[in-house]
């Protein structure tokens, strides 16, 4: 089962995913980001270092989160994408849409 989690670091939401970010898990991540953004944490980092697979639904959830964050005046970055996840981001031509970082620390650093 995919596990989703959030924590706050320096006033920025960090969303973590363990396992597959796919059709089943995607709506849960989307609603988690929506709720967190509505609650005022408009800057976020999606930590993909624990995700071993992503599909177009998972990508859709992250894109939806990006839109929600930007509409609220914030932003959403991606960190730690490796293997198939990194590969899929490029295949889906989303490697240029997001600010992408190797680690959560790098993504947090310099967030306005």
């Amino acid at each position: 089962m995919t596990e989703l989690g959030t924590e706050t670091r320096d006033g920025i939401a960090v969303y973590s995913i363990q396992g597959r970010l796919d059709l089943v898990a995607a709506p849960n991540l989307k609603s988690l980001i929506d709720t967190t953004v509505k609650g005022g944490l408009i800057r976020g980092v999606v930590d993909l270092s624990g995700a071993d697979f992503i599909d177009s639904s998972g990508l859709g959830a992250v894109i939806g989160g990006l839109k929600a964050a930007r509409e609220a005046g914030g932003d959403l970055r991606i960190a730690g994408a490796t293997g198939q996840v990194d590969h899929a981001l490029k295949l889906m031509k989303l490697d240029r849409v997001f600010g992408r970082y190797s680690t959560v620390d790098e993504a947090l650093d310099g967030f306005d």
């Binding site: 597959r20 697979f53 177009s56 859709g60 894109i63 899929a88 889906m92 031509k93």
Partner: protein, 134 residues
């Protein structure tokens, strides 16, 4: 020419996503010669088609999956007993113009990742066939 018996299983649609990953892991364990890029492309494509079956196959009761690896490459077949899809499901799929589109990429993505992707209706079943050459 080394040809291998296909790895195959039947499952309920709600088990299909797990089954895809498990079956592909078995295939890679049996065929370590399949390269990393090929593996990523194949799991991406099969995952998308399987997700499509799960999402749009409300009437399906059983899905069947097979993986065959030989010197030419990898072939994956997926069947389900749900309602038919439009015949041009694969050929008409396009990537959305908007890079921030939240949906609608799945089949185009699968088609781009594989050398061959076809959908057809076989009797009472939907049949997806996809292949990636070495």
């Amino acid at each position: 020419m080394a040809s291998t018996d296909p790895l195959a299983l039947d499952c309920r649609p709600d088990e299909l996503l797990d089954a895809v990953h498990a079956l592909l892991e078995r295939a890679w364990a049996a065929h370590p010669e399949v390269g990393e890029v090929d593996r990523m492309m194949i799991v991406t494509a099969v995952g998308e088609i399987a997700a499509n079956v799960v999402e749009h196959g409300a009437t399906a009761t059983v899905a069947s999956l097979s993986v065959a690896v030989d010197d030419d490459g990898v072939r994956v077949e997926l069947w389900d007993d749900g309602d038919p899809l439009p015949a041009d499901t694969v050929t008409s799929a396009t990537m959305p113009d908007d890079p921030l589109a939240e949906s609608g990429r799945g089949i185009a993505l699968a088609r781009d990742a594989m050398d061959e992707l076809t959908y057809r209706r076989d009797g009472e079943r939907n049949h997806w066939s996809m292949a990636r050459r070495r």
